[in-house]
């Protein structure tokens, strides 16, 4: 006994100290006790563990039974020593801290009950270690026993401060599900059925870093409505431990209570069927289910309840990085994930019950049979035949038009206040509660004018991206052990976006990334989009046809990309040409057809083709999502009015028909107009229809390509249909096997007609043997079906993660794309500025840039080293213009060049750039900006013996700075030579420097501008690499941002990034190219008095 009140340092027994000490002031902390003998604070007084201050109220309590701290009501007596507490020490009994009755539930056919019967506000009265044990092994605590035919609930209560041998057993009655039944049956008879208590997400290995959780408690069936039986109130709350910065809980028993305060209910009814709560602060430790009965005075008295445990999270971190690609669509979103083994697949949570559930059921009351209203719970399967379509919609319990503020929307809790209506916003859920098509401000303007502000739309996008990423991560972590440290998210955009649209999306992605970091602990890095959606899809599907035509018909936009396969593969004379022949995009997606079915608006009954119950865009979009095909949608008696089916079909024919027309006109433009020089001549080498065939002396340009065993001449287009909008093509399939076949057949027919209408022009397009309408030439329009196990919508998300984005292809094909849309005019026009007539097949907008460096290489091979510097850099020797347009062009009779040589190794991304970085250095320089014309007047070449700064033969590569220094040292000679030629020393030195740089670049196997650009890039990123503490991801991000800045600056100057960098480097070297600093000239003879 003496050991219970002693000093652990000197062994002094404090109970022998006859003294009364003020131990704690009212509402204050207890004083720290010291040994009066040795002054040590290692004083152990066991009785003080049984008397404690309640954290929430500041009141001191002691256990009424089993404790050893008797004495006055405000005194703790330890032998002769008395510790006084200001205020009263309240006696507390186990009955005071526990519910009078405990409910029992039927979960998956078995009885389950709370692990602890304690009211949540008294959890701090239990032993913390035992409370944790109750979460880990709940079966050791609460149980149901049978006594004389009656079931009772029993639990050993590990009261704080008591020894395990002193822990009392609490026993109480079971709360009957039906309050009007006789409370004498067994647990089976009294149990609640059809009730669910569930938690989202269901992390296989919960970590402290993940902080966002939802809890829902409610009825699944009519039987479960006993929760809300007359005469009692049901409520639930979750208990969450306060945590440190890393999410580690600070206590097991001092928990924050978060109410499940969002009612969920049945459609059209005001009474709730359950409640949802959200925690942003960490994983709940317990869910408290509570029943109250009203008493006089408007108060409620606890009737029954208990605590349901959640397994504790662990303190685990990983260094994993996930790579996600998101195709944020107007109507549907698809997300792809790249797994560790390199495989890429679309995210399909809980697909077909083969995948782990993202919802953790603490009580599973069976399937949901109550007809629900707005269901925002984020767990469950997604839409579509492959269950990988996430509706791009946000539903909210409040009307969206009442929330038209980014701040208000930003404060909503995902899955509780708002969410993605996975199970459809059906029936009485009005369109006021669902917002869709928020990818486009212009679409929101049509649908919900009050929300049509850019900051509001950006917030909607941000919250959607946040929700989509949370659902994706939850899906992955339901199956995977390790949570990632970072998540790289690639996304794209439709070319129909204007600058504002793109900025909005970028802002939304950034905001979503910041929120996700706080909610999941992982760094979500949304890299700024570098590719549009059609290009992203293009990378996913290899081709063996001359042209791939990607037609991405989404909910909002229609993108068409004509891709030159031979240019992509650097084959048959197309090397150096950018693969993107045309890349265009219009806001003419599937929603155009859907809205046409609504008539002029939601109240236009005359123009509408829909059944009255379907008269909102939201409901119609939901019906489309659930419909297996466009044809099925048209034939559904619940969607299209019987009398309006012909009109609905007619509108589909016009809608699809005009898309066919648009595609056919673009392909005709490819045939009729490409490869024209400024003076209107056709350059076969630039025309996409011509290929280099044969070998040796027989090598020549031919129209089309030789294909097949018979070497049949063919011009091939292969259609790749992407996007869900093509589902409406099913309506007008007219017996074709699939929409792809229908489109190929119709595009072919229209393309043929358009070419025949321009017969004279087609006959000009000839290789001397065969022209475009020659019957020996086959015009082939084929199609590609989606790969097995995937669908038309998946290609963009999959393409975003494709290896082509991390390879040199990315630099070649994606950085030099057209910054604008590029297609054909479509209509014959007359413009009054200069009275010009523009035929319909003329292209508009700037095309993607070709790669002149490959041409340079051909020249190098032919003429040896010393390729001419590009325009804008000094020309060692002025060249007479060749060809009619002032540019080099092959003339008849000129010495034939050898066939184009494939570059052995295309100089790729900058050496300092991580290969996988989307912002890898562009590789194809555009023409350099114009340099001062005086350069062209400089002497072509210095006589070798006198050439200042001549490159000495040496075993190591000189730096450009060393070359500059050499020129500086010979400035006197330069000045004299410049004076002889009538120019300035600086102008004279420039071509010398350029020429030496050329030699230097040649030694490195680079063009001069590429070498300069690489050097400039290294100078830019060098400080980053020297920055201490930057991890690989941060480094990657910083470099990426640097590249973004470079690209933006280059674009402003109308240059490619490489040209811009090279120009900067060149200007930097020129700035150094000044006379070498010399000692100040002193008067001679030396006069010390002279200044």
């Amino acid at each position: 006994m003496a050991l219970e009140h002693h000093c652990e340092n000197c062994g002094f027994d404090l109970s022998k100290l006859e003294q009364t000490i003020l131990y704690a002031r009212k509402g204050g902390e207890a004083r720290k006790l010291h040994c009066p003998i040795c002054r040590s604070d290692r004083v152990k007084i066991a009785a003080l563990e049984r008397v404690f201050s309640r954290a929430a109220s500041g009141r001191w309590v002691r256990w009424r039974e089993g404790g050893g701290a008797g004495g006055a009501s405000n005194t703790i007596t330890l032998g002769r020593l008395k510790l006084r507490v200001e205020g009263e020490i309240e006696p507390l009994s186990k009955e005071q801290i526990c519910f009078r009755m405990v409910p029992v539930f039927v979960s998956e056919g078995r009885l389950t009950w709370p692990a602890l019967p304690v009211m949540p506000e008294y959890l701090d009265c239990l032993d913390p270690a035992q409370v944790r044990l109750a979460r880990e092994k709940p079966e050791l605590f609460g149980r149901v026993i049978q006594e004389r035919g009656k079931s009772r609930y029993q639990c050993v209560l590990p009261l704080r401060g008591l020894k395990s041998t002193e822990w009392p057993t609490y026993e109480c009655e079971i709360l009957p599900a039906n309050p009007f039944a006789v409370n004498a049956g067994d647990a089976e008879a009294m149990a609640f059925r059809g009730v669910s208590v569930k938690v989202w997400p269901n992390l296989r290995r919960p970590t402290h870093a993940w902080r966002y959780y939802l809890v829902q408690a409610g009825a699944n069936s009519e039987e479960g409505m006993n929760l809300f039986a007359q005469g009692r109130h049901f409520r639930a709350q979750m208990l969450v431990a306060p945590s440190d910065a890393d999410g580690r809980p600070a206590s097991e028993t001092l928990l924050e209570r978060i109410a499940l305060d969002q009612e969920v209910g049945r459609e059209g009814e005001s009474n709730p069927t359950g409640y949802v709560g959200a925690s942003r602060r960490g994983r709940p430790a317990w869910v408290s289910v509570e029943f109250y009965q009203p008493v006089q005075g408007g108060k409620a008295e606890a009737l029954g309840g208990g605590l349901l445990p959640l397994r504790p999270a662990i303190d685990a971190t990983s260094n994993d990085t996930w790579n996600l690609g998101i195709d944020f669509g107007t109507s549907n979103t698809v997300i792809a994930v790249k797994r560790k083994d390199g495989t890429i697949q679309c995210v399909a949570p809980e697909r077909g019950r083969e995948r782990a559930s993202t919802t953790l059921s603490l009580i599973d009351g069976g399937p949901q049979t109550l007809q629900r209203g707005l269901d925002l719970w984020p767990g469950g399967e997604w839409s579509g035949p492959f269950r990988d379509l996430l509706p791009s919609e946000l539903a909210c319990h409040k009307r969206w038009i009442d929330l038209a503020s980014d701040t208000v929307i930003g404060n909503l809790a995902f899955g509780k206040d708002f969410g993605v209506p996975l199970r459809g916003g059906v029936g009485a859920v009005g369109s006021d509660h669902v917002v869709s098509e928020f990818k486009w401000l212009r679409a929101v303007e049509k649908d919900k004018t009050a929300l049509a502000q850019r900051n509001v739309v950006q917030e909607l996008q941000a919250r959607f991206l946040e929700g989509a990423m949370l659902m994706t991560a939850a899906s992955q972590l339901a199956e995977e052990e390790a949570a990632p440290r970072s998540v790289n998210v690639s996304y794209s955009f439709p070319l129909a976006f204007d600058e504002g649209d793109l900025d909005t999306l970028k802002g939304a992605a950034q905001a979503a990334g910041e929120r996700l970091k706080a909610l999941t602990g992982a760094d979500f890095l949304f890299a700024p989009p570098l590719v549009d959606e059609a290009q992203a899809a293009a990378g996913h599907t290899p081709s063996d046809k001359m042209f791939r035509v990607y037609c991405d018909l989404g909910g909002g936009s229609l993108e068409v990309l004509v891709d030159d396969t031979l240019a992509r593969n650097s084959q048959q004379g197309h090397s150096g040409m950018h693969p993107h022949v045309f890349s265009s995009s219009i806001f003419f997606g599937g929603s155009v057809y859907l809205r046409s079915l609504l008539g002029a608006g939601e109240h236009d009954r005359k123009g509408s083709c829909l059944m009255p119950a379907m008269s909102s865009y939201t409901r119609l979009a939901s019906a489309v999502r659930q419909s297996p095909s466009g044809k099925a949608l048209l034939e559904s008696p619940h969607v299209i009015a019987e009398t309006r089916k012909a009109t609905a079909e007619r509108r589909a024919r016009v809608y699809i028909g005009y898309i066919v027309e648009w595609v056919a006109r673009m392909l005709a433009g490819v045939c009729l107009e490409h490869g024209r020089t400024v003076d209107g001549r056709l350059d076969l080498s630039r025309n996409r229809l011509f290929t280099l065939a044969g070998s040796g002396a027989a090598r020549r340009w031919i129209l089309g390509a030789n294909k097949g065993p018979g070497q049949k001449r063919v011009v091939e287009f292969s259609l790749v249909l992407l996007g869900n909008g093509w589902g409406f093509g099913d309506i007008v399939r007219d017996g074709m096997k699939n929409v792809e076949q229908m489109m190929a057949q119709r595009v072919y027919a229209r393309l043929s007609e358009l070419l025949r209408e321009n017969e004279a022009l087609c006959q000009q397009i000839s290789d001397g043997d065969m022209h475009l309408l020659d019957p020996r030439l086959t015009l082939d329009v084929s199609f590609v079906l989606p790969p097995e196990g995937t669908h038309r919508k998946a290609a963009v998300a999959l393409g975003l993660l494709g290896t082509h984005h991390a390879t040199e292809d990315a630099a070649r094909f994606f950085k030099k794309r057209s910054v604008e849309r590029h297609g054909v005019m479509g209509f014959d026009l007359w413009l009054n500025d200069g009275s010009r007539k523009i035929p319909w097949y003329r292209p508009f907008g700037p095309p993607a840039e070709d790669d002149p460096s490959q041409y340079d290489r051909i020249q190098e091979v032919q003429a040896g080293a010393g390729a001419a510097p590009p325009q804008g850099f000094p020309q060692p020797q002025p060249k007479a213009p060749q060809g009619g347009g002032g540019f080099p062009i092959a003339q008849p009779g000129s010495a034939p060049y050898a066939a184009p040589v494939q570059p052995a190794a295309m100089p790729g991304a900058m050496p300092m750039m991580p290969g996988a970085m989307p912002g890898a250095m562009p590789t194809m320089p555009g023409a350099m900006p114009m340099m001062p014309g005086a350069m062209y007047g400089a002497p072509a070449m210095m006589p070798g013996a006198m050439m200042p700064g001549a490159m000495p033969m040496m075993g190591f590569a000189m730096s450009p700075e060393m070359l500059v220094m050499q020129l500086q040292q010979q400035w006197m000679q330069l000045s004299m030579l410049a004076a002889q030629s009538g120019s300035t020393p600086l102008d004279y030195a420039k071509p010398q420097l350029w020429q030496q740089l050329s030699v230097l670049a040649q030694q490195q196997g680079l063009t001069v501008e590429r070498m300069l650009a690489q050097q400039q890039w290294q100078r830019l990123v060098q400080p980053l690499m020297m920055t201490p503490g930057l991890g690989p991801e941060q480094m990657q991000l910083a470099q990426h941002q640097q590249m973004q800045a470079v690209t933006a600056a280059a674009t402003q100057r109308g240059q490619s990034a490489e040209t811009f960098l090279a120009q900067q480097r060149w200007e930097g070297l020129l700035a150094m190219l000044q006379p070498a600093p010399m000692a100040p000239m002193m008067p001679f003879p030396f006069d010390p008095n002279a200044r």
């Binding site: 005019m825 907008g845 060049y897």
Partner: protein, 103 residues
């Protein structure tokens, strides 16, 4: 037309070739010369937009709103391109609205 069929690609200066339609003056007026023929089962553009009035207005507004195309060989303030083709403008801004009126 190049008469030497063995000539390799001439990937010369960008400005040597004809690409997109020439820059458009700031206040250019557009006239649609004739209604293009479309597939016989489709209503012609001139039926959907008689006189092409709606398309013309939309196109001129679009040209007026266009930013400056970032090309190096034209003075920035003088370069206005068709960034949308007339056919695209017709689809986006005319047909999309008129589709609901087709019976």
């Amino acid at each position: 037309m190049s008469k030497d069929p063995t000539a390799p690609p001439h990937l010369g200066p960008h400005e040597a070739y004809r690409f997109g339609e020439e820059p458009v003056a700031a206040k250019a007026q557009v006239t649609f010369l004739e209604s293009p023929k479309v597939a016989p089962e489709l209503p012609s553009p001139s039926k959907i937009d008689p006189g092409f009035e709606a398309t013309r207005i939309a196109l001129e507004n679009q040209v007026a709103r266009n930013g400056v195309a970032p090309l190096m060989y034209a003075p920035p303030d003088a370069t206005r391109w068709f960034r949308f083709s007339p056919f695209e403008v017709f689809l986006e801004q005319v047909l999309a609205k008129k589709l609901s009126t087709l019976e």
